[in-house]
């Protein structure tokens, strides 16, 4: 195709070249059936150590109580909530890819959907750590989180955003997990019919539930998949909306704004895509999946990041505008304090990482350069972490009364828990690539050239 006439209506093929269905099985099951390479072991050693640091930090936290964290009046929400929001946000890309792009009939999602869904589940697991441990005594958590009939005759407060959070995130986790598992059933059946090992065969048989690829089943299966996608779409939007209510429903200056729900959702998709892109860049190289997870997929993800990153940048600007326009001196102070106060370094890190660098994706060369996009992805995740830090800490450390202002500094234990959550995430990712097919075999086969009957 010449440069002058690009046909924008032409859809990119979902996979590169014309691989056969059997070769797809070969490539995708290779990491499962082969012995792990040395690189994998090194990776696991690193992530395992990080996880170990997290386990030690959490044990110390349980032993001593939350006093080992840096939180104190007036900043009662520190790393715990920052990391919680960060990880929940990472998860959003998975559902977006598997559900929203499915409803939009985007064929390119097939190559990356399984991986992204898995990352959703792992990210939500990482996120769930923080609300669980932030009480310091999590074994008492069920008592005040879940509504259950008790001898005191009291009930949880169903109108509290924190309780909405419990429902939203646990529903999100459950539904994502079901969605993921339903997608895995046909692949488990394929693995069952391929494997030569007896133990694996028993395991795959159990997980496949006895799937027979019957068209009488496919018919209901496809319907169920559509229903799940239809539910996941509003669900994923609701989750980060409700997370943002934790802030927006309160009356703290800088939190009490109506822009929060859309701004949080855009930010979540932004950071989630950055994380998916980073992990996929490594995985496709490592397992030779370049023809299934194509450059075109990565480029599409970068475009989504460009869009959501610009929305986030717009939201930053709009927050400032509204603070000025509202005529509320407290709001105005909070935003000036963000940009010029003691946490200005965090604020400007956030702005440059989230607003400035992703704009490089306008340039096609950057968008299609593996190294370039990888670096920008990392930068975006750093920036999005700082965004939550800025929102939580600047607003709390200097609110209404100057006499009760304070300064928040995380402790080593705070960092330990955060590092541990990163370790958990990547450990799970590493295990996932070895035990489960990282690309949905049944879905990718369905979009291969010649996989569907010609219209006769």
């Amino acid at each position: 195709m010449s440069n002058s006439a690009i046909d924008y209506t032409l859809e990119h093929p979902a996979v590169a070249g014309t691989p056969s269905a059997a070769s797809i099985d070969e490539v995708i099951t290779a990491p499962i059936d082969s012995k792990p390479s040395r690189g994998w072991w090194i990776g696991l050693a690193i992530t395992g150590s990080m996880l170990g640091i997290g386990v030690l930090s959490v044990s110390w936290l349980f032993y001593k109580g939350t006093g080992v964290w840096g939180v104190n009046q007036p900043v009662g929400w520190g790393f715990d909530i920052v990391n919680f929001v960060f990880w929940v946000g990472i998860g959003h890309a998975g559902t977006l890819i598997s559900a929203i792009l499915f409803l939009l009939r985007q064929k390119w999602r097939t190559g990356i959907a399984r991986f992204a869904e898995a990352m959703t589940i792992f990210a939500v697991m990482c996120a769930l750590i923080f609300p669980l441990i932030h009480t310091g005594r999590p074994w008492l958590a069920a008592v005040y989180l879940l509504p259950y009939p008790n001898q005191h005759g009291i009930w949880v407060n169903f109108t509290s955003p924190l309780l909405w959070d419990v429902f939203a995130v646990s529903t999100y986790f459950t539904v994502s997990f079901v969605f993921w598992y339903i997608g895995l059933i046909p692949d488990f059946a394929m693995l069952r019919d391929r494997t030569k090992s007896k133990i694996k065969k028993i395991a795959y048989s159990i997980f496949s539930l006895g799937w027979r690829h019957s068209n009488r089943h496919w018919q209901h299966y496809e319907k169920a998949y559509l229903i799940l996608a239809g539910f996941s779409t509003p669900l994923v939007l609701s989750v980060h909306t409700i997370v943002s209510f934790d802030f927006a429903v309160s009356v703290i200056p800088g939190w009490h704004t109506t822009i929060f729900p859309p701004y949080f959702v855009a930010g979540a998709v932004f950071s989630g895509f950055a994380m998916v892109q980073n992990v996929l860049v490594v995985t496709r190289k490592f397992f030779g999946l370049e023809h299934i997870i194509t450059l075109n997929h990565l480029e599409n993800m970068n475009k989504v990041m460009l869009l959501t990153g610009s929305i986030v940048g717009y939201a930053y600007a709009m927050e400032f505008f509204i603070a000025w326009y509202s005529g509320n001196p407290l709001e105005q102070f909070v935003f000036l304090n963000r940009a010029l106060g003691p946490y200005a370094w965090a604020y400007w890190t956030m702005v440059s990482c989230n607003v400035i660098f992703p704009q490089l994706f306008w340039i096609k060369k950057v968008r299609t350069n593996i190294i370039g996009m990888f670096i920008i992805g990392v930068i975006v995740n750093i920036g999005m972490w700082f965004e939550r830090f800025v929102i939580v800490v600047t607003s709390l450390s200097r609110d209404f009364l100057p006499s009760s202002w304070g300064h928040y500094m995380p402790t080593a234990i705070d960092f330990g828990v955060f590092i541990g959550s990163i370790g958990l995430f990547f450990t799970l990712v590493l295990l996932f690539v070895r035990v489960l097919p990282v690309v949905s075999m049944s879905e990718i086969k369905a979009v291969l050239p010649g996989a569907q009957p010609d219209h006769h």
Partner: protein, 379 residues
């Protein structure tokens, strides 16, 4: 060992077009109990097989509506009946704040019921003992081949005819699939001793673990750290103050909020003369008086003030309040007795507020009137 029974005759095709044509041909030939097996859903296959639309959506709709309406009703009940609390000055039924949880539960119940019924009723899974499992046919359709299987329980089934029909469709292979009755339809015995032993073992383990957690682990550090806290409790002794009492006496001259001094201390006569019951004996006041009387007076004076104490001689029997003496007393005297006590009857001033004391007086009067009714009352 039983002889293998015929389950179906199968044929494998290499292309999606081939299988679509085969499905159409088999349907036209009038077979009902046949199935297509493909590694992924093939477009147009539902029409080729003449399948009706999946009814799964109705289950989703029903489950979602029920879950949503149920949880909304539940939250409303909690806020309006079970545990009414004013939160942020909002009305009890502040429904906009119920929406998030209602939405989440709607999604959750719709999804779980849909998937549950998909697996259990639509697929009849888990089922790992189907005749087709572990056949070369299944292995082929699992990978990249498209198969059709016409079952032997079809009313029109005739092995030779079916084989001929399938062969005429140019498949890659045609093959019968057989199964072993005993192998497929074995059942688990509920009262197998091994199984019972397993159940008993699990029960024992769970009980032991629960007992250990609730009675041992929770009383070990750090779980017990919340029980022993660095603070003083009211009746404890302390080194900190010279009088060793943890509970501090009130500062001299302190007056409680709403306190009014009682001017007739030790002056029963003037109390009787000067005090007037400020309350009207309305139904509400009498109800309050009854409640307080039954709580504080009835143990000694009896439910009807007849002096029939329930204390069975543990305390000197108090007099009846139906005596001429008490009946002719002015209200103020009864009030004085409640406030100050009389001889061995203690004061009730700290338990019963002033208003309530006057209500009790009205109630005592009502009791007296009831047991010593005048002629005029009985008409």
């Amino acid at each position: 060992m039983n002889t293998p029974l015929l389950y179906s005759v199968t044929a494998l095709f290499d292309t999606p077009d081939g299988i679509i044509h085969a499905a159409e041909a088999v349907r036209k030939a009038g077979y009902k109990r046949y199935d297509i097996h493909t590694p992924y859903p093939v477009h147009g296959m539902d029409d080729a097989m003449g399948l009706k639309d999946s009814k799964l959506g109705f289950i989703t709709l029903g489950a979602g509506l029920m879950g949503g309406a149920g949880v909304f009703a539940f939250i409303s009940w909690v806020f309006m009946a079970a545990y009414p609390n004013v939160i942020g000055g909002k009305p009890f039924f502040s429904w906009p704040a119920f929406v998030p949880v209602t939405f989440e539960i709607t999604v959750l119940s719709a999804v779980l019921v849909t998937i549950g019924s998909l697996i259990a009723f639509f697929f009849k899974f888990p089922n790992n003992s189907h005749p087709l499992h572990d056949t070369p046919y299944m292995k082929a359709v699992s990978c990249d081949t498209f198969g059709i299987s016409i079952q032997a329980d079809d009313p029109k089934f005739d092995e030779a005819a079916v084989t001929a029909l399938l062969t005429s469709l140019h498949p890659r292979t045609v093959a019968p699939v057989c199964y072993d009755e005993a192998e497929l339809n074995h059942t688990w015995k509920t009262f197998d001793p091994k199984f019972l032993a397993l159940l008993a073992g699990v029960a024992l383990l769970v009980s032991a673990a629960t007992y250990g957690t609730m009675n041992v682990v929770l009383y070990m550090p750090p779980f017990d750290w919340m029980m022993n806290q660095n603070k003083f409790k009211p009746q404890q002794t302390t080194e900190q103050y010279p009088d060793s009492r943890m509970m501090r006496p009130v500062v001299a001259g302190t007056v409680a909020r709403g306190f009014t001094p009682y001017p007739y201390k030790g002056m029963a006569d003037s109390a009787g003369k000067s005090l007037v019951n400020p309350l009207q004996p309305t139904a509400k006041v009498l109800a309050l008086g009854k409640e307080k009387y039954l709580t504080f007076c009835s143990p000694c004076h009896g439910n009807f003030a007849k002096g029939d104490s329930r204390l069975r001689g543990q305390f000197p029997n108090p007099p009846t309040l139906h005596s001429d003496k008490v009946r002719t007393w002015p209200d103020g005297s009864v009030y004085h007795v409640i406030t100050e006590g009389q001889n061995i009857m203690p004061s009730y001033a700290s338990q019963i507020s002033r208003e309530e004391r006057w209500a009790v007086v009205h109630y005592v009067r009502a009791l007296q009137r009831a047991f010593n009714a005048k002629e005029s009352d009985q008409q």
